[in-house]
């Protein structure tokens, strides 16, 4: 029994190391073959439609609701200490620093990431990638790299839209519904949110999440066993892995960026 368990552990470790190695090689070759994605930018624009535009609805709606909840909950808590005037600050800072990039990243992983994995996996299972290779066209350059760059470009835009919608939601609930003073709401917010420290760092976070989620999604698809079960398993793994990676990266980045402030 114990021997079996140790053997399993060893096998999994070796498999894991092997996959990390393969993933790194995949990532590198994707970067090296990115020329096509920029020379023929039409390919990237096409993928931006699928990763970015099609994720818009879920991002906008979720952003609005998250902002509205923040407005409601924030007001509840703040008014106990008589500082309702800080509602704008609370909503904006939590969105711009954390919730915008992280929640947009998680939604992006489940909406666009899973779609990318399923598409690439299916292309592999139906031998489309092999066919492309036999036609002397590198699938990494033609299929993978444009999707990567589309994801990397889309993600910060989606996160910014999420935050903006959230602030709007917080404004609607806080100012229009509850009646916090409009001037205080905006001016307190502007006083506390710094462009470089807060907004730019949020953008950097979302770019990093975009790179991570898209790479995981592409790799899982490319590495998926070419069967129906293989593709569905890979799709699940994409969502689980990239969600965990987004949260872990968020912790690391936050520790780097906001240490020493407050």
């Amino acid at each position: 029994m114990l021997k079996q368990a140790i053997e399993n552990l060893g096998n999994h470790t070796i498999q894991g190391v092997w996959r990390i190695g393969f993933a790194s090689r995949f990532f590198l070759s994707m970067l090296l073959h990115s020329g096509t994605a920029f020379r023929r930018f039409g390919l990237t624009i096409r993928e931006m439609y699928f990763t970015g535009v099609l994720s818009l609805i879920i991002i906008l709606v979720s952003g609005l609701f998250v902002g509205m909840v923040l407005g409601l909950q924030g007001y509840e808590t703040l008014q106990r200490y008589g500082s309702e005037s800080a509602l704008g600050t609370l909503v904006a800072l939590s969105l711009v620093r954390e919730l915008g990039p992280v929640l947009a990243g998680l939604l992006f992983a489940s909406r666009a990431g899973s779609a990318i994995t399923a598409e690439i996996g299916l292309m592999k299972a139906t031998e489309q990638l092999s066919a492309m290779e036999m036609m002397a066209v590198d699938p990494i350059a033609r299929v993978v790299a444009p999707r990567f760059w589309a994801g990397v470009i889309s993600m910060p835009l989606l996160a910014a839209l999420f935050s903006a919608m959230g602030v709007l939601g917080g404004y609607l609930v806080g100012v229009k519904l509850i009646g916090v003073d409009e001037g205080t709401f905006w001016s307190q917010m502007q006083g506390a949110v710094d462009f470089e420290q807060d907004i730019l760092n949020g953008v950097i976070k979302s770019v990093v999440f975009g790179i991570a989620v898209t790479t995981i999604a592409l790799f899982e698809g490319y590495d998926a066993p070419p069967t129906a079960e293989g593709v569905s398993g890979a799709t699940t793994r994409t969502v689980v892995t990239s969600s965990l990676v987004v949260l872990a990266l968020d912790f690391i980045l936050t520790a780097f960026m906001f240490r020493g402030l407050n």
């Binding site: 292309m123 031998e127 092999s130 290779e133 002397a136």
Partner: protein, 270 residues
């Protein structure tokens, strides 16, 4: 290289991990011929095609296509040789996100700088050759299996290759599509001066159109010859294969201990 041998394989050995799949294959295909590679499922036929396409490299031996040894080529060289090849995958492997027209135009757009109106004419010519000019605007999902394979054939010949490989072109087709596909392979080979390599286990259909046949079993060539020679062959394996007998050199049963022992007859324990 003015000789008329296009594909030449010498003593090719290949294995996935520790499991050998090809154990020393010798094979040649001349220009203008339709050559069939036959054998039962899982005998390494598809592996052989992948070897010729350069998707895998032989462990030992050489694979030469148009005079170039694939094992010694780098990536760029391999891609150069592949432009002279077309491959028809088992289920067509059409790009599902493009229309039939764009599928056929794919290689022309990737590898040439031809103006769009020239590409349009070329694509329609290829589609006409497989009888599907009218289906140019359809998406792959709207095609039947036989049509998808004909589109894939049009795509494979788009750059006028000198070698076209077919992976199980007859699998899962109705009798009409079967005849259409067979005739198409023969006709395209003759009119375009191609060499066709057909991997198949559909004996009757392929014997009608091929010039030369190789039989592969357990990683080696067990028989070869023209269609007529194969039909008349006295080799037990070929005979079993051509006539579709269920038992013979290829046994019906997977190797197992004696039946009686396995059922534990007479040893009945509580």
């Amino acid at each position: 290289m003015q000789n008329d041998i296009l594909v030449e394989i010498e003593d090719a050995v290949f294995g996935y991990g520790a499991r050998p799949v090809l154990k020393g294959i010798n094979l040649t295909a001349k220009r203008g011929q339709v050559v069939a590679i036959m054998g039962s499922s899982g005998c390494g036929k598809t592996t052989l095609l992948r070897l010729i396409g350069g998707q895998i490299k032989a462990g030992q031996g050489t694979v030469r296509v148009a005079g170039e040894s694939l094992g010694e080529l780098d990536r760029a060289g391999l891609y150069r040789v592949r432009r002279k090849m077309g491959m028809l995958f088992q289920f067509g492997a059409l790009f599902t996100d493009m229309s039939v027209f764009d599928n056929v135009a794919f290689q022309l757009r990737e590898h040439t700088d031809l103006p769009e109106n020239v590409i349009r004419d070329l694509v329609l010519m290829k589609l006409h050759a497989v009888g599907l000019r009218g289906a140019a605007h359809l998406m792959p999902a709207e095609l039947s299996g036989g049509m998808a394979r004909r589109v894939a054939l049009a795509r494979a010949i788009a750059l006028e290759p000198s070698l076209v490989m077919y992976d199980e072109p007859f699998a899962g087709l109705d009798p009409i599509s079967l005849g259409v596909t067979g005739n198409l392979i023969r006709r395209l080979t003759d009119t375009l001066g191609l060499t066709s390599l057909v991997v198949t286990h559909d004996v009757q259909e392929s014997l009608k159109i091929v010039d030369y046949v190789y039989f592969v079993s357990e990683g080696v060539i067990v028989a070869e010859g023209t269609a007529a020679e194969i039909r008349a062959s006295g080799l037990p394996y070929v005979h079993q294969f051509v006539h579709g007998e269920s038992d013979g050199p290829v046994p019906f049963h997977y190797p197992a201990p004696p039946y009686v022992d396995d059922l534990r007859l007479g040893v009945r324990s509580a």
